[in-house]
Amino acid sequence: MALEKEQNNFLLDLDCKGIKYDGKTVLSPFHLKLFEGQHVAILGASGAGKTTLLKVIFDHLNNTSRDIALIPQELGLVENLSVYHNVYIGQLDQFSTVSNLINLIIPRPNARKTIASILDTLSLSNKLFASCGELSGGQQQRVAIARAIYRQATTLIADEPVASLDQNQAEIALNKMINNHTNCILALHNTQQALSYCDRIIGITNGEITLDAATSQISPKDLEDVYMTLNVQ
């Protein structure tokens, strides 16, 4: 199994006692180890607990003061700012406050060039200074992806980052995300994407981790079970 893929250097060794909201179990207790260099997909039906699991992982990694790029499901874009500034937010902590303030009025040339090229690969090059609120759902999702890439962190945590993209765009975006981050933890909807872009798959059913294996060892039947169990209940 992927867990025994002796790499020894853990990204995460997490013993979780379970998560409850209003007395209702959202996530059962679990023990999860993630290794450096892994690209992990988290699969499960809506409401299975993917977002909660990602949040637990993010909080844990964040406490280790690791450099993380995050794409939450609701994207967290600032609608009144331009696409350029939204992507720039990815590196806000790299510059002094004064230069950040200046950049709001006069975009920094270097940043502008880098961001334009990232947007270019995501087919958003003509939107550099469009206001984020005016973009379509799919375009906004790509801006959030661009922000994560511009952050240049080693680890990416993304919650259904390509859900609103068509197949072609989704593939470009996934490629870009995988190639720019050593560690990826992606909640996905599409099993095919998980199988082709990730080397490990974690399946969640009703708040419980029901599947955890290397992609190479997973059969289509296993994946079906992850989704089927929910329907039975």
Binding site: N62, E74, G76, L92, T97
Partner: protein
């Protein structure tokens, strides 16, 4: 070539337009400190601030009871009238009438009513009731519209208006209605207080005389009482106590109320332009000097004061709102922020203006700064509370980066809505502050009343009302231009 200088973005265009205008007006206008030693007077004020004193208890109790009674009766009358008018608010004539009622400041109503009733309670409570009726009718109508828009209650077609109201309207709007009426009661206390500046025996009367005599310790004591009243209003001002209060207020004011007004015919004659009353008078000869010596200078100074104050208020609000936003600081800083904003926005602008006038001497500066402080704190308060509804990403930046990249851009539209709504109020108050002796419209209105030229006073009041209505519609046009949503605001 100049096209390049005009910003592409509509919001930037509007904001830089307002900013540039305010800057130009500041340069060409009379805005300076004219007192020789503003520091010395400030030291006296500060000394008074540290050692508050109170006038004799009976005097004080009388002033407090007068203030509360005017507010209570005025708001009750306005709520009744406003409610009835809100039912027929779809009629254009009602909307226009209400807009005119609220376009005239309550102090100007007070000056007008003094001519009719003299200095007595009826003048005070009507001065509050009349403009507040116009305000409440509009707000009540908007609350009902909004509730219908949200809920679309399904009712049988042929049910009566009254049962429709009881079953479909009242349950939906009850909370908004009572909350807004209580908020108006708070405003009524402020209005009741400043009515003292035109001679009614409320807290403002005591404040003005204390200011005039330089008794800053008394000023501080009176202000503390005023803040105390406002700060505890949610406790003592609850609706369940109102029946008791109302009967008490009527009982208390009754001996002073007199319904024998001066002859209405006499008043109507007085407000008719002089040339129409006297045959040998040429209208042009009479009207031209009023326009050139009073109306135009008054309008100009009101506009200058209002426009600069608007821009400063907006700037101040952007600096102040993080003080009470949950996204910044800790519970201690927020408590301090809340406290200072409460003080800044509760202090009536007339009192702030008076204090600054004593410090800096007569120019438009005291009025501008007083308006900026009062309104900046109100907009900052509203914006800060609005910012608390914004969810942030778990990895959102902190400090100034959070302020400039995350929160401010997200609250900006709402902030603009609050500011545009405040524009009309600021303009109305700019006109009013003339009563202190600065040459905005209020100065000329006050002087006309003092010299018993009621016809002139009426013309100037109509001019100030027209200015407010104009600014109100300009605000509406700008909100549409910027595609800002229609949003009801308390304030």
């Amino acid at each position: 070539m100049f096209n390049k200088l005009i910003p592409q973005n509509k919001t930037t265009r509007v904001i830089s337009g307002f900013g540039l205008l305010a800057f130009l007006l500041w340069i060409i206008s009379d805005i300076t400190i004219t007192t020789a030693t503003p520091g010395a007077e400030f030291k006296l004020m500060l000394a008074g601030l540290l050692h508050p004193q109170w006038p004799p208890l009976t005097e004080l109790a009388h002033a407090i009871l007068q203030t509360i009674s005017y507010a209570l009766l005025g708001v009750t009358l306005a709520a009744t009238g406003g409610f009835l008018l809100s039912l027929i608010f779809h009629l254009k004539i009602v909307r226009v009438a209400c807009a005119s009622l609220r376009a005239v400041h309550e102090l100007f109503w007070g000056l007008l009513l003094i001519q009719l009733f003299g200095l007595q309670p009826l003048t005070g409570l009507l001065a509050i009731a009349i403009p507040y009726t116009g305000i409440l009718a509009k707000i009540y109508a908007e609350i009902r519209q909004e509730a219908h828009h949200r809920h679309k209650p399904h009712l049988p077609h042929n049910c009566s208006v009254f049962s429709r109201f009881l079953y479909a309207d009242w349950p939906l709007i009850k909370t908004d209605f009572t909350n807004y009426t209580l908020y108006r009661f708070e405003c009524g206390l402020r209005s009741g207080t400043i009515l003292g500046f035109i001679g009614l025996p409320t807290l403002g009367f005591q404040l003005e005389s204390a200011f005039m005599q330089g008794h800053y310790a008394d000023v501080t004591g009176l202000l503390f009482i005023f803040y105390g009243l406002i700060a505890t209003i949610h406790w003592w001002g609850q609706f369940k106590f109102w029946p008791i209060y109302l009967s008490a207020a009527v009982y208390y004011l009754w001996p002073d109320i007199s319904f024998s007004s001066s002859d209405l015919n006499w008043l109507l004659e007085q407000i008719t332009p002089t040339p129409w009353r006297e045959i040998n008078n040429n209208f042009g000869n009479w009207f031209y000097p009023i326009i050139s010596e009073q109306l135009l200078p008054g309008l100009w100074n009101t506009l200058v004061t209002g426009q600069i104050a608007l821009v400063l208020s907006a700037g101040l609000a952007l600096i102040l709102y993080p003080l009470l936003s949950n996204h910044f600081g800790n519970s201690t800083t927020r408590l301090m922020g809340n406290l200072s904003l409460v003080i800044m926005r509760s202090t009536p602008e007339l009192i702030l203006g008076f204090a600054l006038l004593i410090l800096w001497g007569p120019s438009l500066l005291p009025a501008i700064i007083a308006l900026a402080i009062h309104n900046g704190a109100i907009i900052g308060h509203l914006t800060g509370h609005h910012s608390n509804n914004i969810p942030l990403r778990p990895d959102a930046p902190k400090g100034i980066n959070r302020y400039s990249y995350e929160i401010t851009p997200r609250v900006f539209n709402q902030f603009l809505i609050f500011t545009f709504y405040r524009w009309e109020v600021i303009m109305r108050e700019s006109a009013l502050l003339g009563i202190l002796g600065l040459h905005t419209l209020g100065f000329f209105i006050d002087s006309a009343f003092e010299s018993f030229r009621l016809d002139v006073a009426l013309i100037l009041i109509i001019a100030s009302a027209a200015l407010n209505i104009g600014v109100d519609s300009a605000g509406r046009v700008l909100r549409q231009y910027l595609h800002l949503p229609k949003y009801r605001v308390i304030g």
